[in-house]
Amino acid sequence: MFLAPSNQTKVKYLKMTLNRFILIGLSMYFLAVLQGAGFGSGKKSFQLPEHPKATHPPIFEVQKRSDIVEKFPCTKCHSDVQKKKNSYKKAHPTIVWNHGNLKAKCSTCHDEKDPGTFKALDKKVSIDESHNLCGVCHFSQKRDWQGGAHGKRTTGWNQKRVIKPCTSCHNPHNPLFPKKRPVIKATPLPN
């Protein structure tokens, strides 16, 4: 048997719910006022200091290749290098060209008129800034190298940043790292 509520009880319920809403609303208002005045939660909310922003572009120095390469520039010994045409291939028999599937001539990167310098899309590039030449194609690697995710750092973590240029690690004619046996035997993990 189901009982339907009378009109009187309906009104009673309505009044009760209204009262409750008013009570909750008032108490919430007071709590907010108290918290604003510094009461209530005792502790102040922790705020992280603003994170310092990285300087852009990053400050670093590139190790100079011209100081490392002993026989640079070639004109140190070969004074007549510009006179002989098409003699480069004979002069460099050991160079193997294995750079991806790229079909390139010497003159794609080397400035034949000015041996010892390079050209990146007709722009002159010195031996010390090979990143400007390699970065024409390998732009994402150049970006990571500038930022710090690629390349070899030569100083310590809190010293002046000096990084090696591309051609210090990669042979530009045959850029794949060589295969070799590991330099030390691995010890099995302890049990």
Partner: protein
């Protein structure tokens, strides 16, 4: 015993030192016996509760803490630090006839060390492993190594190290595989520290977890607790040729260990606290390893965390390792 004295657990240790007048050279087990007896003197109830509570907020000025121990503890003075290092130097001279430099450099200000490892650059040459062994004076007889390089088949389509080969000796890089190095990840929430029953291992302010070899009792709880296989145990007295010993040492790092103590990678604390890079990073010929200060927004490690896709090993354990892997 140098930096540990700044830690709450250190108070307990120096209290033992004072009560029993034991030298740092006395054997660990006799020290432990003395420790147990001195606990008896002090009243074990108080000490046990000291250990059970989180000791991080215990400072020398903490009145409650000092009232437990009735001024039977004190901090190690600068003089005592120096004398304990002098003792180590003398021992070294007696044994090897040469002088050794043991530093006790504290963690640098505003520094939290982090490491990143490029899994698309590592070729598995193990130059880092070799450099690490030479730098950190590890036992040559058992060929102890902190770093492991895992060879993972690209076709396996997973990063599970269970099926990976860490003992490879063939020419690398091998056809269709990539290489992933593991070492101590210097967790922000290190489980190895939590389980140490004597407080011989703790996390330094620069985020490096270190061991005091004079306090370690060799229970190997930490080795069991570490989810990254980072800790190593000296089953015998470590043996290194005299000429091969790295004499540039740190009290909490690569100073010579003894039989029956744990040791681990400290990101080369003797180098990094002088501003250098860890030996593994300097030795890497491919530039796959990057080390730096996480709090410095200009550091390379910050660049990597901001700009590259990074992941950590066993992230779900909540250990918060400070060692990230990334790809080109």
């Amino acid at each position: 015993m140098i930096q540990i004295m700044e830690k709450a657990k250190g108070f307990f240790k120096s209290s033992i030192n004072q009560i029993t007048n034991s030298s740092p050279d006395s054997s660990r087990r006799s020290l432990l016996k003395k420790a147990i007896s001195s606990v008896g003197i002090l009243g074990s109830g108080g000490l046990v509760s000291c250990f059970n509570k989180d000791g991080t907020d215990k400072t020398p000025g903490d009145k409650n803490f000092s009232s437990y121990l009735k001024k039977n503890f004190r901090l190690m003075t600068e003089k005592e630090k120096i004398s304990s290092i002098e003792k180590l130097r003398t021992n070294f001279y007696k044994k090897y006839g040469a002088d050794v430099h043991i530093s006790s450099d504290d963690a640098p200000e505003n520094t939290l060390f982090g490491y990143a490892f490029n899994i698309s650059k590592c070729k598995g040459y193990r130059d880092c492993v070799k450099a690490c062994v030479e730098e950190n004076n590890q036992d040559r007889e058992s060929d102890m190594q902190y770093i492991k390089i895992f060879e993972i088949d690209k076709k396996s389509n997973s990063l599970s190290l269970g099926g990976a080969d860490s003992q490879y000796s063939h020419e690398v890089p091998a056809g269709n595989s990539f290489y992933m190095g593991t070492q101590c990840f210097q967790c922000e929430n290190p489980p190895c520290v939590a389980v140490c029953p004597v407080g011989a291992t703790w996390k330094e302010k620069d985020g490096i977890t270190v061991i005091d070899y004079d306090w370690c009792i060799g229970c190997r709880y930490c080795q069991a607790a570490c989810p990254y296989w980072a800790r190593r145990f000296n089953w015998s007295e470590p043996k290194i040729e005299k000429e091969e010993i790295n004499k540039d040492q740190h009290y909490l790092g690569n100073r010579l260990r003894k039989k029956g103590v744990m040791e681990k990678c400290t990101y080369c604390v003797q180098r990094t606290r002088k501003g250098k890079n860890p030996a593994c990073m300097d030795a890497c010929p491919t530039g796959a390893r990057i080390f730096g200060n996480l709090l410095d927004p200009d550091s390379e490690i910050s660049y990597i965390l901001k700009n590259k896709k990074v992941f950590r090993l066993k992230e779900d354990l909540g250990t918060e390792p400070k060692f990230w892997y990334f790809m080109d």
